[in-house]
């Protein structure tokens, strides 16, 4: 892999865009020009989205994602590749979010939930998005993290176990609990929104 990095030179010839993550990580560890930008380009949005769903605020989410990428850049020469790069990045983002107690409450009140529910209408979509954010807000951070890693980012149980450093059995039981929690809070908030004022 190192030979490949040297021989290509990793100039801006478009090869970076088609390289797999492991090759990119190796190139980035050698500070090859453009390699870190390509990693940024691939994982900028997933990292910010995960942080946003964890924290509930875009500005905080971008700060956390920025800090995560800084740590990645500094530590990548020591990255052994035992886990996938994405798993490593998600672990950093999740840990930073769990350490960040600044999660802001959803600013939209439950009045928004009282809108008429015509199927497929834009107002219903908006209502569901707001409700989803409120449910996440009400969940325990550890349950929120495992739910997002699985149902939003699509990590496997093994990858979640690596990212959160949990036994596989704990991943299974905690994920079940997280989904049940989401479902229960969703039902409660929906019923609250349907009550006449």
């Amino acid at each position: 892999m190192e030979d490949a990095v040297r021989t290509t030179g990793w100039s801006t010839d478009g090869r970076l865009a088609t390289a797999d993550d492991a090759t990119l990580v190796a190139a980035c560890a050698q500070r090859a020009p453009g390699s870190f930008q390509e990693l940024l380009s691939r994982y900028r949005r997933p990292a910010i989205t995960l942080a946003y769903q964890m924290l509930g605020d875009l500005e905080d989410a971008e700060d956390v994602a920025q800090e995560a990428f800084v740590r990645v850049f500094q530590a990548i020469p020591r990255f052994r590749g035992q886990a996938a790069f994405s798993t490593w990045l998600y672990r950093i983002v999740t840990n930073l979010c769990l350490g960040n107690r600044r999660r802001k409450k959803a600013t939209v009140e439950l009045d928004a939930v009282k809108e008429p529910r015509a199927s497929d209408s834009p107002s219903r979509q908006v209502t569901e998005v707001l409700l989803t954010r409120q449910v996440l807000d009400a969940m325990a951070p550890e349950l929120r993290a495992i739910l997002l890693l699985r149902d939003q980012e699509g990590l496997s149980y093994t990858e979640i176990a690596e990212a959160l450093r949990l036994p596989l059995g704990t991943v299974r039981s905690r994920l079940s609990k997280a989904r049940m929690s989401f479902r229960q809070i969703w039902t409660e908030l929906s019923q609250l929104g349907d009550e006449p004022s």
Binding site: T12, R31, P33, F36, Q37, L40, S41, R44, R45, I48, T49, Y52, Q53, L58, E62, A65, Q66, F69, V70, F73, Q74, Q125, E128, V129, T132, R133, L136, L147, L148, R150, D151, Q152, Y157, R172, L175, S176, R179, M180, F182, R183
Partner: protein, 149 residues
């Protein structure tokens, strides 16, 4: 087995993580239990809701620049920041256009000469007398040139 025990397995079943024998028992239960089937459908919809909640997220346009600045990328790699590739052809095109315009202007304008103008002037102004007492020369006859005195 009660519904509560089956519900605990729904999450793993949804992800294909349930052992085959237990998955078979759960599937048999789902066929006769609309409550557990509804729970399974609801759990399966969580992923869709989460993705919908973040689909309209707009990342700041300068996020990459902020990260690169934060890590000191240009100093660490010792690599020059690449010029914006889309600017170069624009600059070349603008210079070529300016050159063409200058060429066209030069071709049509030629050396500068003010347009000829004719203004009638009094004869006294044309040939001034040598002295105040000198006789004023007679006006030239028709067909006679003034400088043939």
């Amino acid at each position: 087995m009660t519904c509560t025990l089956y519900e605990e397995q729904l999450s793993s079943y949804l992800d294909g993580e349930l052992p085959l024998a237990r998955a078979a028992r759960l599937e048999a239960h789902l066929k006769v239990c609309p409550h557990c089937q509804a729970e399974l459908d609801a759990l399966g919809g969580i992923a869709t809701r989460l993705r919908a909640a973040s689909s309209s997220l707009r990342v700041s346009h300068d996020f990459d620049r902020r990260v690169l600045r934060a890590v000191g990328y240009w100093q660490v790699t010792g690599w020059q920041r690449p010029t914006k590739s889309y600017l170069r052809p624009l600059v070349i095109a603008a210079l070529a256009l300016l050159g063409m315009l200058a060429g066209v202007w030069h071709f049509f304008s030629g050396p500068f000469e003010p347009p000829p103008t004719w203004q009638p002037q009094p004869a006294a102004a044309i040939v001034a007398p040598a002295s105040p007492n000198a006789p004023i020369p007679a006006a030239p006859q028709k067909g006679e040139r003034r400088d043939q005195r």
